[in-house]
Amino acid sequence: MELVNFLGIQLLNALWLSALFFMLAVGLSVVFGLLDVLNLAHCTLYMIGAYIGYTIVGLVDSYWFALLVAPVAVTAIGAVLYLVLLRRLRGNHLVQALVTFGLLFVGYDAARMIWGVEQFKIAEPTLLTESFPIFGQKYPFYRLFVFGVGLATALALYLGLDRTRLGAIVRAGVDDRETAAILGINIDRAFFIVFCIGTALAGFAGVLAAPIRTIEPGMDVEILIPALIVVVIGGPGSLKGAVLGAFIIATAETFGPVILPEFSSFIMYAVMAGVLLVRPQGLLPVRPAH
């Protein structure tokens, strides 16, 4: 019974963490897989989202307002970044990686200049401060809420890609950009919208994570590596891949320290190396291997 309780709690932790990983990785992954833009500064936008959320909560004392407004602000920043910089670098991975790597430094110091080096947290919204009894202990509702939001996001993105006009345009553009453009579809605009959605999700994830994880300079780099690994093992551009990858990595991250404390920090990397050896194109690639 002890063991079941214990593993149950770990499983719940893996669930909310996988929701967080998913929301970050899906932006990275879709932006990379569809737009061919590798944005190492993606998680910087997540960090900025968390900080802006913190500032908003300080001003108006409403978590829900912050959850709504911070992603909008982050999207505005991301849009400028895309229009001014990233759009010009499309297709050149090395330069993209380097430019966005440079932006990591800019973001880190900008956060230190504006908010200082202190650690912050946003309080959970009053609706969700309670815990509920499960597996012999109390588990915070808020974490379950994060998982629910992640699940809803995945579903919405799936339906959006599968059922909407924008989704069809994006799929067409990924398949054959030039033909789609010849048919009169404004591919650039569609891709821009996709980039903005990815950015908004990063900002959204920042506010969602803020009551659980600490807001501090460097929180972006800390989560960038797991997010990249999720993208790689799922298959870049693949929505289902991001879901599966996020769950695998979150599980490795939560169960690892418990089962193999000595090697906990390795497990994530070992999983990735293993996946790449067996399936270099990722577990659920957008297109089958040529």
């Binding site: 991975h93 090395l94 990686a97 440079g102 430094f105 780099v221 990397y269």
Partner: protein, 324 residues
């Protein structure tokens, strides 16, 4: 690279000569800058060999610095080996890990390659920051420098150590100059330009790439050993991917696919860092903005820009390939 390149020669003679003069005359604080430059130059030359000459854009090269530093720390500090022997063993281990990791990562290409190299190096970092024997993420001090007092050289003096590091940086430069002109280096260049063509001509492409990793891994491990002896401290930060990224930036900013480029980049990076740092605590924002500006404005790097400014630019198609 043309067989004789007066611009390249003039640049490196000027820079290394300046560093040597500085090492002889500047005060103790500036000596640390000179040492830092020399070690960074060795490190980034090894990155350029992969990125600029072999087309292998690694984002995890600092991992090899970590291998060198931790191997040296283990062998000399814990097992009591003489530092010289331990250094040789560390370099050999760098080459071996280059072979193992090279064999793994060259299975993928493009952006996957960037991410996998990053992740593999962070595996080492993750291990090092938990390794209690080495002080985990606090690091461990009390490391020894190479003892050359038998031949009248005292490396414990920072001035002597600085001169030694510059000499080693020059030797590394000459080594790579020789290597890229050798049949081995030329074959790597051919693979970088057109992998399929090289393969069709019967070249064992994979073996060459792995061999390039072995060389670059060994040299980076050596840089890691010097770094350890400079600070007398072993710390996981040496292998962090941010350091790999910085090294890559230095190569690109200086000019990938040239040997003078990374040397220029290494000098500029350390000097810029130290100068800006003395004005403001927020040096990273300026560093980041400068990275972005240079990468956008001079895709061929500063050395490429210098070449075209001086009209010395001959047909050098391989430099373009840095964008690939």
């Amino acid at each position: 690279m043309p067989a004789r390149d007066p611009l390249s020669l003039a640049t490196v003679v000027l820079l290394f000569g300046g560093a040597l003069a500085a090492a002889l005359f500047v005060d103790a604080y500036r000596l640390t800058i000179v040492i830092e430059i020399a070690i960074l130059v060795i490190f980034v030359l090894s990155i350029d060999f992969l990125v600029g000459y072999s087309g292998l854009v690694t984002f995890g090269h600092a991992g090899f610095m970590g291998v060198g530093a931790y191997a040296l720390a283990y062998l000399s500090h814990f097992l009591g080996w003489p530092v010289g022997v331990a250094m040789l063993a560390g370099v050999a281990l760098g080459a071996v890990s280059g072979i193992v990791i090279g064999a793994l990562v060259t299975r993928v290409s493009g952006v996957f390659f960037i991410m996998v190299t990053l992740a593999v190096s962070m595996m080492f970092w993750a291990w090092a920051s938990k390794a209690r024997k080495f002080g985990a993420d606090d690091g461990l001090g009390g490391m020894k420098r190479l003892d050359l007092t038998a031949i009248g050289i005292d490396l414990n003096s920072d001035r002597v150590f600085a001169v030694a590091c510059i000499v080693l940086a020059v030797l590394t430069y000459v080594f790579f100059l020789w290597l890229v002109r050798s049949p081995f280096g030329q074959t790597l260049k051919a693979i970088k330009q057109n992998e399929n063509r090289a393969r069709a001509q019967g070249c064992p492409v994979q073996h060459y790439k792995v061999a390039a990793f072995a060389v670059a891994g060994a040299v980076a491990a050596f840089a890691g050993e010097l770094h350890l002896q400079n600070t007398r401290f072993v710390h996981p930060e040496v292998a962090h991917w941010i350091r790999s990224g910085e090294g890559l930036i230095v190569v690109i900013v200086g000019g990938a696919g040239t040997l003078a480029g990374p040397v220029i980049g290494g000098f500029l990076f350390v000097l810029f860092h130290r100068v800006v740092e003395s004005f403001t605590a927020h040096w990273q924002i300026w560093m980041g903005l400068m990275f972005v500006a240079i990468v956008l404005a001079a895709p061929d790097g500063l050395y490429g820009r210098l070449q075209s400014l001086l009209g010395a630019r001959r047909a050098a198609p391989e430099r373009r390939a840095a964008d690939a």
